[in-house]
């Protein structure tokens, strides 16, 4: 299977008053056509910055400090702004967490969709209306033609997110970065949107990076999972195996804190402590201060350990020793 998106050693930094903040540190992964991968981690771990970096949407004082992002074989890092713009929306698109904030309240849905269409194609007004109607129908918006002249406030949150998805799908991009698109919605709508995104991705062969802090949402959707902590990927692997048999203590902690992993009436477990500031990371493994398995070895940053189709960044991976004993 060929990779539509190939990320190697990506690093994104922000120049802050307190120094250089490395929000994305040496991230590598690849995404095949039509594949859905989940990017999970706590708040502030760098998931959104990773997503924006892929689209070249990091504004000063931030910058992509190194690495490579290849989309359909073309290198995006260092590309001119104009060339990047021509690829955004057409080859790679993004949807955001808060559908209330993404659409302009002062323009009709039709006007906003037409703008997104006109960004890459010259189409007549009538043809544009047809295309937009079709796009709205595709994401399950009832009476799409009439809804073109409606304003965002006339839609519910879930419907607005569908409009955003329709805009992202307009040009049938190869990759969609979905940055927590269901976090702001209530649970039943969440499930609907997730199911719909899954079938749309399959139908159009769109590959997706699904960003979430919720492993439960990702588990039903992604074929592979990347776990991110303090700007780095700490574990990567096929979704089923990562969820059933996690290696990194941080992944174990995330899984333990899921409501489903706890008996009813028992308080939810949490990972103790909080993520350290990216400006003052401890030496060695960034998770070490919160880790129950930490030993003096952890003062040195662990490299990625690769085992068949999965990898992790830890000296004391869970499950490995016991497997050896069993075999």
């Amino acid at each position: 299977m060929s990779a539509v998106l190939e990320v190697r050693g990506l690093r994104t930094e922000f120049l802050t008053a307190a120094g250089i903040l490395r929000a994305v540190d040496d991230i590598s992964f690849s995404l095949s056509a039509g594949e859905i991968i989940g990017l999970v981690g706590e708040s502030g771990s760098g998931k959104s910055v990773t997503g924006f970096s892929l689209l070249g949407l990091i504004d000063p004082p931030g910058r992509i400090a190194g690495g490579s992002v290849r989309l359909n074989g073309a290198e995006l890092v260092g590309m001119t702004p104009g060339e990047l713009r021509r690829r955004r929306g057409r080859e790679i698109a993004m949807i955001f967490q808060d559908p209330i904030a993404t659409l302009n309240p002062l323009l009709t849905v039709g006007q906003q969709m037409a703008m997104a269409l006109a960004a890459h194609e010259r189409v007549s007004t009538k043809a544009a209306a047809d295309r937009c109607t079709e796009a709205l129908a595709r994401v399950g918006i009832p009476s799409p033609r009439a809804r073109l002249s409606a304003y965002p406030h006339e839609f519910s949150g879930g419907m607005r997110q569908r409009v955003a998805i329709a805009i992202a799908l307009l040009h049938r991009p190869a990759v969609i970065v979905a940055d927590e698109p269901t976090t702001a919605l209530d649970v039943s709508i969440q499930a609907q949107i997730v199911a719909e995104m899954r079938s749309l991705a399959r139908e159009f062969g769109v590959a997706m990076i699904w960003i979430s802090h919720d492993l439960a949402v990702v588990s039903g959707l992604a074929s592979r999972i990347l776990v991110m902590y303090a700007g780095r990927i700490v574990e990567e692997g096929p979704a089923a195996r990562v969820l059933r048999d996690p290696r990194h203590p941080y992944t174990c902690g995330l899984l333990d804190s899921l409501p489903a992993a706890t008996a009813p009436g028992v308080p939810l477990r949490q990972i103790p402590g909080a993520m350290p500031s990216l400006l003052a990371l401890p030496p060695g493994c960034a998770f070490q201060p919160r880790c129950a398995c930490a030993t003096p070895d952890c003062a040195v940053a662990p490299e990625m350990t690769v085992e068949r189709d999965r990898s992790w960044r830890c000296f004391h991976p869970a499950g490995v020793a016991s497997e050896r004993v069993a075999s």
Binding site: L57, R85, R88, G89, F96, T102, N104, A119, I167, A168
Partner: protein, 325 residues
């Protein structure tokens, strides 16, 4: 939308009725104007006759009734001092103030918003820093001093522009206007610039802050992610998003500047309404004061009404929110 207009028109009407009462009662309480219309050596009979002629012997509510009745017939009474119809007196002065204020605010908004948006789009450049410096200057330098400097520079030293007066005027609808003649336009430039400076500084700040905020919003990020060009984002998203605070301030400034243009009018001997009202207050020329205050209130109400309509035209949420109630 029609319901919205009717509702707003009714509100405007109520405001006008209440305003006319407050103004009338307020001015009534200020002092007795009889003494200024009769000679100091007048007899008691002459005094009583004057009081009767002016209707000052009637009870307050009757005076108000007469006042409103006349108002509705376009009769604001006669000035005690100039002994001419108040409407003619104000009609001769108000257009001068209106054209001065309108030109200066349009200029301030046009230039201020352009500079502000530029500074908001490229906030770290040298140009943006200079623009913001200019705006701080506009805020901190006193207006009368700027007026004097303008006269000294452009009228006295360089001799490019006249220092005062309205210049040549043209009558349109029976009202004299300066901005329609070249000479009149030349006379407007300096006072308009003087009046515009502070407002321009304010518009720069407003437009810059709004642009900064809009540029960082998810709306703009999403538009960028869809590949929409920066120019289109600026024109279709940002300008629209920042227009609401700008229109609000535009309306407020328009009203208050008409009411308080007196400093600039005095410096540039601009025969506007400001000078007239200050004089009238000094000598308690009651009909002039009342008419002026009522007309100013009317102006504010009309501006607010228009601003509300513009809001409704721009913002669909205002439109739907108000028609439902």
């Amino acid at each position: 939308m029609l319901g919205f207009v009717v509702q707003r028109a009714f509100q405007a009407f109520v405001v006008m009725v209440v305003m006319s009462m407050i103004v009338f009662v307020g001015v009534y309480a200020v002092g007795n104007p009889v003494d200024i219309v009769i000679p100091p050596d007048a007899t008691q009979a002459m005094r009583a006759e004057a009081i009767h002629r002016l209707g000052l012997d009637l009870p307050l509510w009757q005076q108000y009734g007469v006042f409103v009745w006349r108002l509705l017939h376009g009769d604001f009474g006669r000035s005690f001092v100039y002994n001419m119809p108040v409407l003619d007196l104000i009609g001769g002065r108000l257009p001068a103030t209106l054209e001065l204020v309108l030109i200066s605010i349009l200029f301030a908004t046009g230039v201020g918003v352009s500079l502000g948006v530029y500074a908001g789009v490229r906030p770290s450049g040298l140009v943006a820093k200079s623009i913001m410096g200019l705006s701080i200057l506009g805020f901190s330098v006193p207006s009368f001093w700027v007026g004097l400097i303008l006269i000294l520079t452009f009228a006295v030293s360089l001799g490019w522009l006249p220092a005062g007066g309205r210049g040549e005027t043209v009558e349109v609808f029976g009202v004299p206007w300066s901005f329609l003649t070249l000479d009149g336009l030349g006379h407007i430039v300096l006072p308009a610039l003087n009046l515009a400076l502070f407002k321009m500084a304010m518009m720069i700040r407003l437009a810059r802050a709004g642009t900064r905020e809009a540029m960082l919003s998810d709306t703009v990020k999403f538009a960028r992610a869809a590949g929409i060009s920066e120019g289109t984002i600026l024109r279709r998203h940002v300008l629209k998003l920042i227009s609401i605070p700008i229109i609000t301030v535009f309306g407020l400034e328009l009203g208050s500047t008409v009411a308080f243009a007196v400093v600039t009018e005095t410096i540039f001997s601009w025969p506007g309404i400001g000078k007239l009202i200050i004089d009238s207050i000094g000598v308690l020329d009651r009909p002039v004061m009342v008419a002026y205050l009522v007309l100013t209130a009317l102006l504010f109400v009309m501006i607010n009404f228009t601003v509300d309509l513009v809001f409704a035209a721009i913002d669909p949420r205002v439109r739907s929110g108000k028609t439902r109630t």
